[in-house]
């Protein structure tokens, strides 16, 4: 990974633990290349009067075949769950290989930038 400028927009890494499934990135994406599936779970905490509803991320997919690397998703994420990384060597032989789920998006991280 030498010869890549430090601020290269190579890929976008996901920190799934930071993601709250708020859908802001999905809604702002001009290319419609991000898909999120989530469900709500009730969490009971000691001392709390009633259980809290928490969104749980089921799937998070970026289709690099559609992405134009504009970075709007990175900018709108209120929880820094999306970060630029300079990794760029993830070409695929078929279109489906460019659709990365949580596991592959997390492998890009942590960010080597900033």
């Amino acid at each position: 990974m030498s010869d890549v400028v430090p601020q290269a927009r190579g890929a976008i890494a996901l920190d799934a633990a930071a993601c709250t499934s708020c859908m802001l990135c999905v809604k702002e994406c001009p290319d419609w290349c991000i898909h999120i599936e989530s469900h709500n779970e009730e969490v009971s905490e000691p001392g709390a009067r009633r259980p809290r509803s928490v969104a749980v991320l089921d799937s998070f997919t970026i289709d690099w075949g559609l992405c134009m690397y504009c970075g709007i998703c990175v900018e709108v994420c209120p929880f820094d769950a999306l970060q630029w990384v300079s990794t760029h060597d993830y070409a695929a032989a078929e279109a489906d290989g460019l659709r990365h789920g949580i596991a592959r998006l997390e492998e890009f991280g942590p960010s080597d930038q900033r």
């Binding site: 859908m23 999905v26 809604k27 702002e28 994406c29 001009p30 419609w32 991000i34 898909h35 999120i36």
Partner: protein
């Protein structure tokens, strides 16, 4: 939307030819912008000159066409490399290019329909593809960024 720097060049082809004669003979950009609010199509050119002592001079020129019946004078006499770009403007914006040597289709072979880069030309993929940001819950209508509401009503 802010316009690139530069002046209106009238008449267009003569102004381009004058700049080419003045040494601005490298064509960097020639394209169009659809401006439906003012019922115009704007044509933009960016020419570059390399002075002998190094450095780079640049100049921007614009012209405005009537959107209902846009006609552009070709600049290929002065700048042969503009031919390809004018073909693209013809095809993508529906502009008649007067005096162009060859206006055969460039990319849209066998595709009929309104010029694709006019802002009121619906993007079929944006109408047929379900928007991933749509949520099932709630009756609130959500606006889809970059997609006019009337396109989505065609679903």
């Amino acid at each position: 939307m802010s316009a690139p720097p530069g002046e209106l060049w009238e008449p267009w082809a003569a102004a381009v030819a004058r700049h080419v004669a003045d040494g601005y003979d490298r064509l960097d950009l020639l394209t169009a912008v659809d401006r439906p609010q003012s019922e115009q199509i704007e044509v933009v050119i960016h020419l570059v000159r390399r002075p002998a002592d190094g450095g780079l001079d640049e100049v921007w020129g614009h012209t405005l066409l009537d959107r209902a019946a846009p006609v552009l004078d070709s600049v290929t006499d002065a700048l042969p490399s503009a031919a390809w770009h004018e073909r693209e403007i013809h095809e993508m914006f529906g502009v008649e290019v007067r005096g162009h040597p060859d206006l055969r289709p460039l990319l849209l072979h066998g595709i009929d329909g309104p010029p694709p880069l006019r802002k009121d030309t619906p993007l079929v993929a944006r109408i047929e593809t379900p928007w991933p940001g749509a949520e099932e819950t709630g009756r609130r209508r959500v606006s889809v960024p970059g997609v006019p509401a009337e396109w989505l009503e065609q679903r």
